[in-house]
Amino acid sequence: MPDLSYVRSEMLPERAPPASQVGIVGWARANLFNGIGNSILTVLSLVFLWYVLAAILPWVFAPTWSKGSLNECREVFAADGGHGAACWGVIRERWVQLMFGFYPEAERWRPVLAFGLLFVALIPVLFNMISRRMNWVLLLVVLGLAGVYLGGVLGIIVGLALLGAAAFVGFKAFTTSKEDRAAEIASGVKRLPNPLFFSALYPFIAPWLLWGGTIWMPVGAALGFVISVLAYRSLLPFVGNLAGLIIAVVAALVWWLLLTAPFAGGLHTIIPIGLEPVESRDFGGFMLSITIGVVAIACSLPIGIVLALGRQSDLLIVKALCVGFIEFIRGVPLITLLFVASTLLNIFMPPGTNFDIILRVLIMVTLFAAAYMAEVVRGGLAALPKGQYEAADALGLDYWKAQRLIIMPQALKISIPGIVSTFIGVFKDTTLVSIIGLLDPLGLTNAIRADQNWNGIVWELYGFIALMFFIFCFLMSRYSMYLERRLRTDHR
């Protein structure tokens, strides 16, 4: 009979892993040269990479930035031995146009400011770690720079004052530690308003900056929401929830469609404050792509959520409407919707009405994106276990509270990759507007190549546009990964 008993006499100390497992060598072993097949693949890939880069890099790094025409570039290539390369002069000469289209030169600060403010407005929505005060500092800096840029005695004084205020708040924010600040707040020190307040105002500020006109127009548009909320609140004691909601929506629509224009016009004759109006047909370049993209992205998510909920609804008519809408829009190419927007809609309009072309395109792109969004959100809803609905019901939460507090936060979290893919798709689809004659960057390439100097240029323009789109789409993609990490609550 063998002896099966064993007793350890001393415990083993901890040891470092062997050298082949750590450091660069360990990493390369594990990831690049892990077995013969793997090593061959690594070497082949490196060779391939080298060939590609050897072909592309000399093309990219051509000393043609300052050239004024394709012919001048060709002279450089000829002197250099005849190898073709990129002719970057076209970008230097035309990048402003690629950014702004034919937006009047004197007014270009407005889209730039709107773009800067977009970031200020987005930060509190997208990130929750940035402090309240730093967000206000950013806002003050952007506005201050705009004031200084605009110049004039008033502009410079106001601009410098804003920058000074920014420096003051920023200095205080930097010099008080987090704990001190928390103590200050606990002791009842007045805080700056929540920056989301500015984010909520941004949708009214940005169109005004872009299209100009009287300031009373955005004020009137914002008042529509106030009226709607007031109507809802004051009627709620007398009518049901649904009736109140319908009346609120109708009140807002009546105000916007019938009363806002006279309201704004009237006030403008009394207090004329406004910006030089800019026509929609002067919009172009990335400014146009970003405008359409941002609006469609921002509006498609809430509309998509409503459609997804409608599709799940027990109310037969609501459900049928939502399904019909989603299936119809998804079954039609975006380009046909854009053609409808550009030509057909005019037929249905009473003669003489001027329904802005960009607004029409915005509506179509938004509806298109919303239909896709609805399906993405529905996927998230379907992935939630039934127990979540039951737990919410059992606690006495009503439908809307359960949706807002329990269901949607989880469904949207599950759907983040799909939602962001849709966002990226929408942003890239904005290039389709060139087909109905809007001058987005792709539309502008034709105009640029019609120029004698640049006739025949292709790669440089499309390469530049592709790079710009890539930057935006890549940022969105990275943001979605960051968000998924931030919202992760299990310890996988």
Partner: protein, 261 residues
């Protein structure tokens, strides 16, 4: 069938059954499509009762207690909870649901919220309790189920037994007058079953009205004042536990008991 022995001695001093009616079910019938799942259910539950519902799988136990807070709708008869009849009137439904706590087999905690937020959500949004007060109440009940130190973790980081105790605390935060349990320990390991059962015993000792679907016959013997046996959608037999286990009358009950004991 597992039967965990409860180590704590059950203190029956406060377990008094009053003659106030908590739940009254009269001649209730329910169908799933054409399938007659609950048949002529008559049941009166008095305040302070601890009722254990047993029966073979598919006999309609879950469906019955889910009808009591209208997670399922009944088609015939009446269900009156604490004086409020359950009809399609949503106001009544919400009223009943905020008075009746429910604990599920799979806990159904909200994974995107911390333990504390799970517990304060309903008091804040349904009862309109101020956040601070709601958090104090939540901590009180988390201490009661012996996991106050987990308050700021997420449900995914807790063991099954801890999650189920959080689920009980979450229901208690609404200060319910009646608690429903649907197999609260069936998804747990033996060690965890014990900690959850002990929590439930404490609750019973404080006089809570409880309806509990469970296979823990030890719990039924120690804590229940009445055991209901269901089969094929009907109440086949009910009695106080001693009689029920030692002297079953119906053949089906005898068969069932011979299989599980």
């Amino acid at each position: 069938m597992s039967s965990i022995t409860l180590e704590t001695h059950v203190d029956r001093s406060k377990m008094a059954v009053s003659d106030h009616i908590a739940i009254e079910i009269r001649n209730m019938n329910k169908w799933y499509g054409a399938f007659h799942v609950l048949r002529d259910i008559d049941l009166t539950v008095y305040e302070g009762e601890r009722i254990v519902i047993a029966g073979p799988s598919g006999s309609g136990k879950s469906t019955l207690i889910r009808c009591i807070n209208r997670l399922e709708e009944h088609q015939e008869g009446q269900i009156i909870v604490d004086g409020t009849e359950l009809t399609s009137d949503l106001k009544n439904v919400d009223k009943v649901r905020s008075e009746v706590g429910m604990v599920f087999q799979h806990f159904n905690l909200f994974p995107h919220l911390t333990i504390l937020e799970n517990c304060t959500l309903a008091p804040i949004w349904v009862r309109k309790t101020p956040r601070k007060e709601a958090e104090e109440i939540a901590m009180h009940f988390l201490e009661k189920v012996k996991i106050p130190e987990q308050a700021h973790k997420f449900p995914g980081m807790l063991s099954g037994g801890q999650q189920q105790r959080v689920a009980i605390a979450r229901s208690l935060c609404m200060k319910p007058r009646i608690m429903l349990f649907d197999e609260p320990t069936s998804a747990l390991d033996p060690e965890m079953i014990k900690e959850v059962l002990e929590t439930m015993v404490e609750l019973a000792e404080e006089g809570m009205t409880m309806l509990c679907v469970t296979h823990e016959m030890g719990f039924a013997k120690e804590v229940a004042n009445r055991v209901i046996f269901m089969d094929a959608g009907q109440i086949v037999e009910q009695n106080e536990p001693n009689e029920f286990f030692n002297n079953p009358q119906n053949e089906r009950t005898k068969l069932f008991l011979s299989q599980i004991l």
